[in-house]
Symmetry: C2
Subunit: 145 residues, 2 copies
């Protein structure tokens, strides 16, 4: 569905967001450990997220990554967009160059249902709500043991 990089990005974003209520900034090393991803690669992904204004970064001592209030209210869709683009929500399942009702592939009218439900779900789920799920202790970012 989404790339490995995008999964790392989602986990990193939600982790950073989960620290927002305490006004805590987190560094690449800590993030990489939490999301079980290689540190340098995590750095690259965070760079992209920062460029796309999904998270904010600050250099130097006491620096790190954090989410501001507006960023907490971004839909998780924006994380996918920043890393993979929106192709997953728009591409033809048969690989036709254009997906449209006027020149449909054989599965088009069935597939658009799936795809638009997917879009709605990612559009309506905010980073904040996912961070809250984490903070209540009812959801997890790390694999068990």
């Amino acid at each position: 569905m989404v790339s490995k990089s995008c999964k790392y990005a989602i986990r990193a974003t939600v982790f950073i967001a989960s620290k927002a209520k305490e006004n805590i900034k987190v560094g690449v090393k800590e993030i990489a450990e939490e999301i079980e991803a290689p540190e340098a690669f995590t750095g690259k992904i965070l760079q992209t997220l920062n460029k796309n204004k999904i998270v904010t970064s600050l250099k130097g001592p006491y620096g790190g990554f954090y989410s501001d209030e507006a960023q907490l209210d971004l839909p998780i869709l924006e994380v996918v967009n920043a890393i993979d683009g929106l192709g997953v929500f728009t591409d033809c399942v048969f690989g036709l160059h254009q997906c449209s009702d006027d020149h449909p592939c054989p599965m088009h009218f069935e597939y658009v249902k799936t795809r638009s439900q997917m879009y709605t779900s990612f559009k309506n789920t905010t980073i904040r709500s996912l961070a809250e799920n984490l903070n209540t202790g009812l959801a997890f970012l790390k694999n068990p043991e």
Copy 2:
């Protein structure tokens, strides 16, 4: 969602199936042209589809690829399974090693809705029905112009 190879595979399978009612076998070259994919690569994909019994092949003169009656009733899910595996229908959207209600990622209970709707759609759509959509002229395999 699915890989480029998988899209080629879906298109090839539906094209072959669309010829079944006339008992026509089609060769790699013709298939590759129809699905707008490189010929040699199409051959590799057809090899995999044949190994997984999604389509049948026959070597030699008057040979080629065709679908038998049982293959026409396979869900399109089986094509995805043969090429990409079922990961798209089972993997955690956050990349956790196991997706489960007991150790959910922060989006789990939302995402399983999307994923299971996707699964149902691919499980309930047969190769035959897609081939029929093509044969009625209401759907297309090739890009316009």
